[in-house]
């Protein structure tokens, strides 16, 4: 990412990253559990099966197409020149798996990180579209992300693309810094969630005629909270692996990175706990989990480069804003986001990226971070909306009204996640 990186990882560092990446799928498992818990009981099996299918689809599509477009540092890429500067914008390796086995081992380690990153990113719109997004539509959204948008962004940030080269080309600090995917995973996933929710619309009965938004609480607080704990383990692995892989952090810096991750999440949880306690009289379990996750997301941008006190403050800010923003989106902006993915991942990620620029002592680093944020909002969000709008013309994202009424499990899978439970009648969808 920075121009003066040592070209090769030492053998112990290589082995450590490999072990950490074996633990990183816990972040995927945690997010999948949280998504399922925040959805309704009659869509639980579809939600978890969808998560598995999305991991499979992103893996296959990224291997076939995305890995080529993402490229690796130093590999062949498409570059154009503007104002006397090179703008490296896309990888140019061989398509259809032919480049994967022949890359240098360290480049393949970077690609492994990206395989896991794109799977996590694609789970975010799936959670936000819960209870009305069809399984095939969720997989199609994931395929679009893995084939086009994620690879382009990953190339710009991690593979020597123009955003990572802002430091060299325009003397902006170390270029756009995103050591663990705050932009490439979380902001991308959160903005995808916004585009999907805009196109698919809210759940039936969520915004009744002439009334306030109907509360549709998640069906299983245990999934939500246990998922948050599982996600912590995955996030620690992601943050440590990213710090070594993209920043070449020395071993001595890794304990502080891990502590910063914990502090950021803890500060966010404490803040969300206090805010919801004052706002509703009692702490809200799902909003506290959202706060915890927002702290982890903001740590993705900052854990490897800030001090513990700064990590705590960044987490507290994320924890204060998350419950408030979830409420604003639902009540004021009529955006139905069951998992809170837009707030947690898009807003939390953007906050982390900006905070890392504010804190950095390097001249121009804040400008580099702002250019990255402008790219995400000004280029990636409209692109995502366009792609998903076109996709919706081919594969309708939303299930038909009858499917929504009986639940996604029965409609799409023919059986529920809890066959022995009595499903309560849903008055709002009659």
């Amino acid at each position: 990412m920075t121009p003066n990186l040592p070209p090769v990882l030492s053998d112990p560092a290589f082995a450590l990253v490999l072990v950490l990446l074996a633990l990183a799928p816990l972040a995927i498992a945690g997010v999948a559990l949280i998504n399922t818990g925040l959805g309704r009981s009659r869509s639980a099996a579809q939600s978890l099966l969808g998560s598995l299918a999305i991991v499979a689809v992103t893996t296959i599509v990224f291997a076939l197409v995305g890995a080529t477009l993402a490229g690796t540092t130093g590999a062949t890429s498409h570059v154009f020149h503007l104002a006397g500067k090179p703008w490296n914008w896309l990888g140019a390796g061989p398509l259809f798996l032919s480049g994967l086995g022949s890359e240098p081992a360290q480049a393949q380690l970077g690609l492994l990180f990206e395989f896991l990153a794109v799977a996590l990113a694609a789970l975010i719109p799936w959670g936000s579209g819960a209870d009305r997004l069809r399984l095939t539509a969720g997989c199609a959204v994931a395929a679009v992300l893995a084939a086009v948008v994620f690879p382009v962004l990953a190339h710009w940030v991690w593979a020597g693309g123009w955003l990572s080269q802002l430091g060299v080309s325009f003397s902006l600090g170390s270029g756009f810094l995103d050591p663990t995917g705050a932009a490439t995973i979380h902001v991308l996933g959160g903005l995808s969630a916004l585009a999907v929710v805009w196109i698919a619309g809210p759940r039936k009965g969520k915004f009744p005629q002439g009334g306030f938004a109907t509360a549709m609480p998640g069906h299983n607080a245990v999934y939500i909270l246990f998922g948050s704990l599982v996600a912590l383990a995955g996030w620690l692995a992601f943050n440590l692996a990213g710090a070594i892989l993209w920043l070449r952090a020395p071993f001595a810096a890794l304990p502080v990175t891990a502590v910063n991750t914990l502090l950021s999440a803890s500060g966010a949880l404490a803040a969300a706990f206090v805010v919801t306690r004052f706002r509703f009289g009692k702490p809200d379990a799902s909003l506290c989990a959202n706060g915890w996750l927002a702290g982890l997301v903001s740590s993705s941008a900052t854990a490897a480069i800030v001090s513990p006190l700064q990590a705590l403050v960044i987490g507290i800010v994320a924890g204060v804003t998350t419950p408030l923003l979830v409420e604003v989106l639902e009540l004021a902006l009529s955006i139905d986001d069951p998992s809170g993915g837009i707030t947690v991942h898009a807003a939390g990620g953007l906050w982390g990226l900006i905070a890392s620029g504010i804190i950095s002592a390097q001249s121009g680093q804040l400008i580099a971070q702002l250019v990255g944020v402008a790219t995400l909002l000004g280029l990636i969000l409209p692109l995502l909306y366009l792609l998903f709008w076109l996709l919706n013309r081919v594969i309708p994202l939303r299930v038909d009204p009858d499917g929504e009424r009986i639940g996604m499990d029965l409609h799409e899978l023919g059986g529920g996640a809890y066959p022995e439970f009595v499903i309560h009648r849903d008055d709002s969808s009659r």
Binding site: G210, I335, L370, V371, A374, L377, G378, Y385
Partner: protein, 62 residues
Amino acid sequence: MKLAGLLVMPAGFFIAIAALVLFPVSNQAARVGFILCGLAVEGLGLAVAIRGHMEGQGKSRS
């Protein structure tokens, strides 16, 4: 209206990029100002898009 908002947003991105190309390294203040203007244009586009979404929701309710 939502589409109009989304079409405005790339203009903000190009303003931010123009800041890098037009202003030299020594003029960081101008760069920051231009980039903030770009972000403001993106914010306006997003606000218009959200407004369009809310109007759509209002129609579907009634």
